[in-house]
């Protein structure tokens, strides 16, 4: 009975959604006076950032990103609170599968390159696809690989907290520097440089590196907390 009601309401919802979006159309310019062109031209001419998505995420709508980083921070905080146990014994880590020697040496070989790849992705966030979130996630997957392969591989919790906090403080401080020197939070205070060079885009690169460290530390922390969750 419940399924029937659910199906009927989903049918109604689906009908309206299809109706709306087919009406909107695909692959065409939907609006004439939107902000899209402003973003594109400002990113090219004012900020000299080649990856427009990065320019939007870090500068034009950098406030969203600050909120987003906070959401991850909150998620890891809430996670720790939810899974908290009174007697703070770190339980045995759940091992998903016993790792063979091949996997072990493979992981050892792969780990540095994964971290390097992640660092590359967030350092070049304003030039090529990628950025702090992607790079941070890639680094976190590297740690995940090590945590899964080696039973007694551990990440210092304090070190994660340091990275997380310092990166967050760096992000907000850059914003506040912009506020106090130029009058607007997160405003660019550094020279923008030339297009398609590593040192371009002013504070964007620095903020994305901070975001990368923060995301990497937070995601590793989340995985670490959940992995140690075994009765």
């Amino acid at each position: 009975m419940k399924k029937v009601i659910v199906l009927i309401s989903l049918g109604i919802l689906g009908f309206y959604l299809i109706d709306i979006f087919l009406g909107i159309g695909f692959g065409v310019q939907h609006f004439t006076a939107g902000v899209k062109d402003l973003y594109l031209s400002n990113s090219k001419d004012t900020l000299k950032v080649s990856n427009v998505v990065t320019a939007i995420v870090v500068n034009f709508r950098g406030f969203d990103t600050l909120g987003e980083v906070t959401v991850l921070f909150l998620a890891s905080t809430a996670l720790g609170g939810i899974l908290y146990k009174k007697r703070h014994h770190v339980g045995e880590r759940s091992v998903l599968f016993p790792a063979s020697r091949v996997v072990m040496s493979g992981a050892k070989l792969l780990f540095p390159s994964i971290v390097l790849l992640g660092a590359y992705v967030f350092i070049h966030g304003h030039l090529s696809p990628g950025g702090g979130f992607q790079g941070g996630t890639i680094i976190a997957t590297g740690f995940l690989l090590m945590l899964l392969t080696y039973r007694n591989y551990s990440v210092s919790h304090n070190r994660l907290v340091y990275f997380e906090s310092l990166a967050g403080i760096l992000f907000v401080s850059i914003g506040l520097v912009g506020y106090f020197s130029k009058g607007s939070f997160l405003e660019n205070v550094l020279p923008v440089g030339n297009m398609n060079e590593l040192f371009s885009g002013g504070v964007i690169g620095i903020i994305y590196i901070a975001v990368g460290f923060k995301v990497a530390a937070e995601l590793t922390g989340i995985i670490y907390t959940v992995l140690h969750e075994k009765d």
Binding site: V6, G14, N51, L72
Partner: protein, 123 residues
């Protein structure tokens, strides 16, 4: 070419909406808590696809001014939905992580994942 674009139009929006409906169906009817969270994450994927599809421009290029690409501003796809989806994906992951930790704790209390055996989740 018009005709094919039309097919893609229906296919992309249709599959995005279908993904959302499948996810919602799973979240609303399944009994297992993990299945519910899985449904929610599929629902999220559908919405993300929908958002990216709105920003797409026929024969567009990615919104990156890489060398040799600097003057293609008019045919670049819309970068704003992409930025929004980036934010939404990360937020979605945060919510999923919190949801799964709640699931683990519920399991610790009740030793089951079935919502019909956990009293308050019946509604």
């Amino acid at each position: 070419m018009e005709k094919y674009l039309n097919i893609l139009n229906i296919a992309i929006y249709g599959s995005a909406v279908l993904l959302m409906l499948i996810g919602l169906y799973g979240a609303l009817t399944k009994k297992s808590l993990i299945k519910i969270v899985l449904g929610l994450s599929i629902l999220d994927s559908g919405v993300h696809l929908l958002m990216i599809a709105i920003g797409y421009l026929k024969d567009g290029t990615a919104p990156i001014f890489s060398p040799g690409n600097e003057d293609k501003m008019n045919i670049m796809v819309d970068p704003i939905p992409q930025a929004l989806v980036l934010t939404a994906i990360v937020i979605g992951f945060g919510v999923t992580a919190v949801a799964l930790s709640l699931v683990i704790r519920l399991y610790r209390h009740h030793n089951t994942l079935r919502i019909d055996e956990i009293k308050k989740l019946k509604w």
